[in-house]
Structures are given as structure tokens and as C-alpha cells.
């Protein structure tokens, strides 16, 4: 990384870390929403951005994670943050089960099927499936998260919890990108036949992308349940999936910085334009159209270059 870029990243991170000092509770809460959507979008980015699989049902995995956490917490009194790995696992397994029969579908066909999955999950939740989801009212009374003996309840406390998770995710996903696994997802996106013909088990990597992306959505679901203390099916409707899809495409599919920037714009801007009331979505839609015309590959398009001349020297002959 060039020094100027490194400096900019450090400066931005420091500014963000200090944000609760000069922002009011409402503004910090908006940042918390941005962080949650950022986490969800980074997970979706693995599926949609890196592997090129059109998933417009990401909210389903988010919901599975949130409900797993809520049920474990309210019925079995498991501390909400402890449910984090389990809700990730549940959402990931759920994704594997639903993706297994449909993952061979291409492009728009997969898109339609995933929309269906999202709707089925939402309707199942409304219908109080297994008698555990509380129907349309959802689940309430989820306990506050506790970290190192401190109960997290105020916006700025959640801010550090959520953005800490975002930072960890960036760290892990950047490493993943620089690996055999990360490259395999890109080969899949670029040319499936050539990928299989180069010895890559394309069916396996498609499922792995779904599983990992969904696991991240599941863990974001836990954070959401902890933050709201009440969850209902309406939080996981089709529009959420659309927004996440939009964030990934708008930001630059396959680019972590781009996806986070888009999360700021898509979630943050409508809050800034609250005065315009109902017109804000109109303005927002217009901006999207203009964007897609002038920057079809996203705000920050993914660059192919994983390696610099310096890293090349590491290759031993």
C-alpha cells in the first residue's frame, strides 16, 4: 500500500473511532446502522461481489441469525453475545441447505430463486414457525449484551461493539482475498468453465461462498437483535435484501472499501435528507440511476491486482 493511501485509511479510522465524542446520540445511532449494513454487505460481497452469484435474499440469512440469537437468549437465557458463533453457524448451514439445489443456476435465475427464499423465510416467521418465532409481533425482551462485565446499552457503546466487528471483518476478509480461497471465488465470477477446467471444484466454492456470506449475515443478525432487544419479521423484508444488493453493486462489487463507502451513502444519505421527507427516496433513486450510467462498475471498482512487485519477490522458485 502506498504511504498516502495508508495515511488516508488511518486518518479515516481515527476520525470514525472518535466520532462518538462529537456526535449526538441520534447521529451515533445512524453510524451504528451503517456499521450493521456494512457487516451484512461485506458478507454479501463474498457471494455477489467476489463469486458473482446473484443473491437477492440476503435478509433471509440475517433473519435466521437474529432469530437464532433471540430464541436462545429469551428461552434458554444464553447471554446474547455468546450466541454469536451459533447464529453464524445456523445461518451458514441454512444457506448451504437452501443453496445446494439451486446454486448451479446462472445469473438472473439464481436471483429470482433467492428472492423466493427471502420471502419464504419472512412468511414462515410471520406464521410463527415451530411456535418459536412469535408470529408478526416477533420476539421481545432480548437481554442487553455484556462485554467484560459492562452492559452495553447506550448508542456509543454499541458503536464500539459494531464497528469493532466491522474492523475485524475487514481484517479477516482482506486476508481471505489474498488466498487460494479468495482467488477461487474470483475465478468463478470471471469464467466458470475455465475455473473448472483449471482444476477448481466450482460447485464446492459456490456453496462455500454462500455459507460464509450467510454466516456473516447471521452474526450481524445477533448484533441487530442485541441492539434492538425486539425483532419482528418486518425487519427482514425484501427491501432489506434489495438495499444490500444495491450497496454491493453501487460500491464496486469485490472491493471492501467501495462496499463500506456505499453503506455510508445508501444508509447515511437518506438520514441527512430527512427534510425532503418522501421526496428523499426519489432523489436517492435518481442518484442511483446516474451512478449506474456513469460508473457502471461501482464507485470504487475492484482492481485485479492482488500482488505488487514486492510480493512477487516472495515467490520461491
Amino acid at each position: 500500500m502506498k504511504h498516502g493511501k495508508l495515511f488516508a485509511v488511518v486518518l479515516l479510522a481515527a476520525l470514525l473511532a472518535a466520532a462518538p465524542l462529537f456526535l449526538n446520540a441520534y447521529q451515533v445511532d445512524v453510524l451504528n446502522s451503517i456499521g450493521l449494513y456494512g457487516l451484512l454487505a461485506l458478507g454479501l460481497n463474498l457471494i455477489l461481489g467476489e463469486a458473482g452469484l446473484f443473491n437477492m435474499g440476503h435478509a433471509a440469512f440475517y433473519a435466521v441469525g437474529a432469530y437464532t440469537a433471540a430464541i436462545l437468549n429469551t428461552r434458554y437465557q444464553i447471554p446474547i453475545l455468546w450466541t454469536l458463533p451459533l447464529s453464524g453457524l445456523t445461518a451458514g448451514l441454512f444457506a448451504l441447505v437452501v443453496a445446494r439445489p439451486v446454486v448451479h443456476l446462472r445469473g438472473d435465475y439464481l436471483l429470482i430463486v433467492t428472492i423466493g427464499v427471502g420471502e419464504i423465510v419472512r412468511i414462515a416467521l410471520v406464521n410463527d414457525i415451530f411456535g418459536m418465532t412469535g408470529g408478526a409481533n416477533g420476539i421481545f425482551g432480548i437481554s442487553r449484551p455484556q462485554l467484560f462485565g459492562i452492559v452495553i446499552r447506550r448508542p456509543w457503546e454499541f458503536f464500539y461493539l459494531i464497528w469493532g466487528c466491522v474492523a475485524l471483518t475487514i481484517f479477516l476478509f482482506l486476508r481471505l482475498k489474498q488466498s487460494r480461497f479468495g482467488r477461487a471465488l474470483n475465478y468463478l465470477r470471471e469464467d466458470e468453465v475455465a475455473a473448472e477446467g483449471s482444476g477448481i471444484n466450482t460447485a464446492y466454492y459456490k456453496l462455500a461462498a454462500f455459507g460464509l456470506g450467510a454466516a456473516w449475515a447471521g452474526m450481524a443478525g445477533t448484533l441487530f437483535a442485541a441492539k434492538m432487544t425486539i425483532i419482528s419479521p418486518e425487519s427482514f423484508n425484501f427491501w432489506e435484501s434489495v438495499v444490500l444488493f444495491m450497496i454491493v453493486i453501487l460500491g464496486g462489487a469485490g472491493n471492501i472499501a467501495g462496499v463500506l463507502l456505499a453503506a455510508f451513502l445508501v444508509i447515511g444519505l437518506p438520514e441527512l435528507f430527512r427534510e425532503f421527507a418522501s421526496a428523499r427516496m426519489l432523489v436517492f433513486g435518481l442518484v442511483m440511476v446516474v451512478m449506474m450510467v456513469f460508473r457502471p462498475r461501482g464507485l470504487l471498482p475492484a482492481r485485479g491486482g492482488r500482488f505488487s512487485p514486492v510480493t512477487l519477490a516472495r515467490g520461491r522458485g
Binding site: R180, F181, N186, V193, G199, G304, L312
Partner: protein, 271 residues
């Protein structure tokens, strides 16, 4: 850019062991029989050319070998193993690598990343190893990068390692596909029209490259329309027409075969 073309004059003695055996291979699409009971053998260490007019079924034979299609009848055996029912990536792992007639590179990835695809199946590191950047994972990545760079050196693209594949010149894209295939450490390399769209100079360089690949002990099966290349590079030719095999033998034999002449030039009474 590449080494001077060396005519394939001093050929190593061919061992008679068959590496790839096709027997009674048949594939139909709807009512059309694309490949009709084709049998031939590719001996270990040889360069075999598969030729024939357009639509003769050559590429279909390739797609059957690499598992892109399933044969309706017949057997394919590679080094004593039946390839029946194996998915493509398993066949690649057994030691068959291929290139495509219409170049299929990972366009928006770098030249180096394209070649690393070939190293993929020989690596082990999973999601967790990558996220934790375990020492074993780093070692493996560095080794793979070294191997990929070596293959790029071999085909003469080392200097272009960090540019995007789509920005390569056409002939270089073909050579990159070969480098990617070589990175899978194949015993048999299957080339689908490697000289397609190449100019005379590039074709010359390709003939040199093929003989150097062969010198590494890799067996080659190729489809080609450029007869100069076929005559110089191959010691055995198999001729297909309308899905069936019409001739097999040395380039000299095949060139004189009346059936082959008819297939390529048509009979007099057709005119």
C-alpha cells in the same frame, strides 16, 4: 520474444505405452451424431494432432475427454483410470490440462492470478488458514507464486505478470492459457486450436513452445487447422469427418490418404 523455433527434428523415441485411450466414443446432440464411435490412442511422450474439416467433432472429442460432456457410449481411459462420470476438476487433478478454442481467461484478473488458478488444486489451505494466515498457508502461497512465475517465464510472459489478462495481445493470451494449463502439472496437455488467430511469427514461436513442452515429458494432443504446424509438430494425426474417424497415421501417410484429400478438397463430381 521467444526462443528461435527449433524444428522438431531430433525427436525423443516414443515409448509405446498408451497414456490416453478412446474406445468407441459416441456423443449425440438431439438427432445429430457429433462423435461417432471414435477410437484412438495417444502414446505417452508423443504429440498427436486431431484434424478435420469444420464441424467434424474435434472439439466435442476434447470436451468428452475433459468431462465437459458425458459420452453416450464408449470409454475413455487415462493412465489406466477410467474417466467415466468424473467431473472436470477431478480429471484435471488426474493430469489432463486443456486450453480453449475461443480463449477463456479470467479477463479482469492479472496474468499471475490466471496462472495461480492452475496451482489451486495442488494447494490445501482453507478459509481458516487464510484468515489466520498460518505459516503453512503463507509457505504454500509463496511456493505457488514461485511456480506460477516459473511457468510465466517458460512461455515468455514473466514481465507481464502484473497486468490484467484482458490487456494482453492476442497471441500472448493464447500463451497465458498454456501457462495456466501447465501450472496444473499435467501429463497430457490438450490444446484446442492453439494457433488460431495467430500470425506467422507467433505460430513459429508456438511450434518452438510445443517442442519445449514436449521436452518436459508432457504428452500433447492438439486440434489445429494450420497444416504447417500440424505437419511439423505432430508425429501422429487422427482425422475426423462428420464425427467419424477416417484416417490415422503419420503426417506423410495422412497427407496421401485419398479419403483425407476428399474430405478436405471434395470430390471432382461435386464441383
Amino acid at each position: 520474444m521467444m526462443e528461435a523455433p527449433s524444428a522438431v527434428s531430433s525427436r525423443p523415441a516414443i515409448t509405446a505405452t498408451p497414456l490416453l485411450t478412446l474406445q468407441g466414443l459416441t456423443k449425440t446432440f438431439g438427432g445429430l451424431t457429433a462423435v461417432d464411435a471414435v477410437s484412438f490412442v495417444v502414446e505417452e511422450g508423443s504429440v498427436v494432432g486431431l484434424i478435420g474439416p469444420n464441424g467434424a467433432g474435434k472439439t466435442t472429442v476434447f470436451n468428452l475427454i475433459t468431462g465437459n460432456y458425458r459420452p453416450d457410449r464408449g470409454r475413455i481411459e487415462f493412465a489406466g483410470t477410467s474417466l467415466a462420470g468424473l467431473r472436470t476438476h477431478r480429471i484435471i487433478a488426474l493430469g489432463i490440462a486443456r486450453t480453449f478454442q475461443n480463449i477463456r481467461l479470467f479477463q479482469r484478473l492479472t496474468v499471475l492470478e490466471n496462472v495461480l488458478a492452475g496451482c489451486h488444486y495442488q494447494m490445501r489451505g482453507g478459509i481458516l488458514a487464510a484468515m489466520l494466515r498460518l505459516p503453512s498457508q503463507r509457505r504454500e502461497e509463496n511456493d505457488a507464486m514461485g511456480r506460477a512465475l516459473k511457468e510465466l517465464e517458460f512461455v515468455g510472459l514473466r514481465q507481464q505478470a502484473l497486468i490484467l489478462a484482458k490487456n494482453l495481445a492476442y497471441g500472448d493470451q493464447r500463451r497465458l492459457e498454456i501457462a495456466r494449463a501447465l501450472a496444473t502439472r499435467p501429463r497430457l496437455l490438450v490444446l484446442d486450436e492453439p494457433a488460431g488467430g495467430m500470425n506467422e511469427q507467433e505460430t513459429e514461436a508456438l511450434i518452438g513452445l510445443i517442442s519445449r513442452i514436449r521436452a518436459r515429458g508432457i504428452t500433447i494432443l492438439l486440434i489445429e487447422h494450420d497444416m504447417r504446424l500440424v505437419m511439423r509438430a505432430c508425429e501422429k494425426l487422427v482425422v475426423l469427418e462428420n464425427g467419424g474417424k477416417i484416417a490415422e497415421g503419420s503426417p506423410e501417410q495422412v497427407r496421401r490418404d485419398p479419403k483425407v484429400i476428399e474430405a478436405y478438397l471434395g470430390t471432382e463430381d461435386e464441383a
